[in-house]
Assembly symmetry: C2
Homo-oligomer: 265 residues x 2
C-alpha cells in the first residue's frame, strides 16, 4: 500500500488480474455443471458465484486490509475512502444458460468514484482493465478509446438489459442487443464496439469496474434522469443505482429522450 500523503489509490493491477485469472478458472470448472437458485431479490445465484466472491474477498482482505469491500453475494464491509466492488459472475443468468457473455468484475472506488477495474470473460479469454483514470483503458493490453460519435445510423449498437422491454419503451434507429453481462456491455462501449449502454437496475458491483474502464477510455456514465453518477453516497445505503446511460457524453445526451418508462399496459 502506498501510504504517502497523496491519497490516490495505488494498486497493483497485475496482481488483481492474477486473482481474476484464478476466479475465471473456478468459473470454467462450474460452467455447464451447476444450477442456479433464486435470491430474495429474484436474481439468480449459484455455487460458482459464492466460491468466486469468497476467493476475491479473501485476496482483497489480505492485500489491502484497510479497504472496504462490497460484493454481489453479500459482502458488505465499508470503511474509509477505498471500496472494492466484486461481481463474482456478472451475467449469472447467461452463465447458467450456457451462453458465452459473462465474466468476473472487480472494481475499486475511491471516495465513491470508480477509480480502477478489471473485467474478464473466461470463455473468450478476453480482458479489460484500467489501473488509473488518467492512465488509459486496455483490452487484452491494447489501449482502447470510446470514440466521439458522428451521429448514429442503422448499424449503431445500443446495448440493453434482456428484460428492458418489460419496463421501458426504447425508440432507437439502430440495432439493440442484450448479450448477458452489464460489465461486458460497458467494456464494449469503452472500445467503441457499441455506441451506448442502458442499465435499468444496476448494482454498484455491476458498474464500478466497467465505469472505471469506460471513463479511462474517454466515455461517461450518467443517470437516465440526467446527473453525473456514482457519488459515494450510494455506498452504505442501497447498492442498487437508478437507471444509467453510458457511452460518449454527447451520445448520452442525445439518447436520453429515446428511453421512456412504459405506460403500464
Amino acid at each position: 500500500m502506498d501510504e504517502s500523503p497523496r491519497k490516490e489509490p495505488d494498486i497493483n493491477i497485475d496482481l488483481v488480474k492474477e486473482w481474476v485469472r484464478e476466479a475465471g478458472q473456478i468459473a470454467l470448472g462450474y460452467f455447464n455443471r451447476v444450477e442456479g437458485t433464486r435470491k430474495p431479490d429474484r436474481t439468480l445465484v449459484s455455487d460458482a458465484d459464492y466460491a468466486i466472491e469468497e476467493l476475491l474477498t479473501g485476496y482483497v482482505r489480505t492485500t489491502y486490509p484497510s479497504h472496504g469491500i462490497v460484493g454481489e453475494e453479500g459482502t458488505n464491509e465499508i470503511h474509509g475512502e477505498y471500496t472494492w466492488t466484486i461481481d463474482p459472475l456478472d451475467g449469472t443468468r447467461a452463465f447458467l444458460s450456457g451462453l458465452p457473455v459473462w465474466g468476473i468484475s472487480i472494481g475499486l472506488l475511491w471516495k465513491g468514484r470508480p477509480w480502477a477495474g478489471v473485467f474478464h470473460l473466461p470463455l473468450l479469454d478476453d480482458w479489460y482493465h484500467s489501473a488509473h483514470p488518467a492512465k488509459g483503458a486496455f483490452w487484452n493490453d491494447q489501449p482502447i478509446h470510446c470514440p466521439p460519435p458522428d451521429g448514429w445510423d442503422e448499424d449503431s449498437l445500443l446495448l440493453i438489459p434482456a428484460d428492458a422491454h418489460l419496463q421501458y419503451d426504447i425508440s432507437f434507429p439502430g440495432i439493440m442487443r442484450a448479450m448477458g453481462s452489464a460489465a461486458a456491455h460497458l467494456c464494449y462501449a469503452a472500445r467503441g464496439s457499441a455506441l451506448a449502454v442502458f442499465l435499468a437496475n444496476p448494482g454498484i458491483w455491476d458498474v464500478a469496474a466497467g465505469a472505471a474502464i469506460l471513463r479511462a477510455a474517454g466515455g461517461g456514465i450518467r443517470y437516465l434522469a440526467g446527473p453525473e453518477v456514482l457519488a459515494g453516497e450510494q455506498l452504505g445505503e442501497s447498492p442498487h443505482l437508478d437507471p444509467l446511460l453510458a457511452g460518449h457524453p454527447t451520445t448520452i445526451d442525445r439518447l436520453r429522450p429515446h428511453i421512456k418508462p412504459r405506460v403500464s399496459s
Copy 2:
C-alpha cells in the same frame, strides 16, 4: 457418395467439420483486422465472408460434384435434389464489431428440406452438428435435445434479431436477447438454452443448418404466419424467407400471437 437406390443423402459429416474448422481459422485471421462494406441489400460483407465462401464452395464442388450450392455471398448453383447452403459468416455485423457470437454455417437440403448441418463458433471453439434427421443433434459431440416447455416465466429466453424493434412489437413475459447470429440462436434453442427464436428476415443460408440441428434435437421451425417452413420451392426463387419462429412446436403456437408487425409510427 452413396449411389444406392435409397436416395437419402449420405454425407461425411466429419469431413464437413474439417472444412469448417479450416474456415474458422480463416475467420479468426481476419477478426478485428477487417472492415465491412455494404451490399446492395444493405447487409454487411467483408473479405472474410468472400474468402470462406470460396473455400467451402470449392470443397463442396470437389467432393459432391452433382450437388447444388447456394451461398450468402453470391453462389447460386441449383440442380437436383441436394443443395448445400453456405453462410460463410453468420453474424457478419457482430464479427465486424468484435463481438463474440458469429460462426460458420453449412447445411444440406434434400428436396428442399433441411437434412444435415454444421455450425461452428470459432472464438468459443463451439460446435453443433446433425448428420441425419433421425440420428440426433450434437453440441461438442454431446447429444442435445430441445425440451418440451412447461410454460414460460421471467427467466424464459426468446432470441430475436437486433433490429426486431424497428418492425415488430413483441410482448413476452421473459427475457429477450439478440446475440449476433441466427444460426447460433437456433442452436441455443436446440440445446434448450433458449425457449424460442424469432427470425424476421432470414436467408436460406441462415437457417438450413440450424434448422436441421434443431429438428434433429426435437424442435420445429414454422412461419410466423403459421405453416410448416422450408419447402423446396424457396430455392430458385428468392433465398429469403418470410418471418420464422423456431423452438418446440408447442411453444411456437403459444408464442405466435405475441409477435406483431408494428403499426407505423
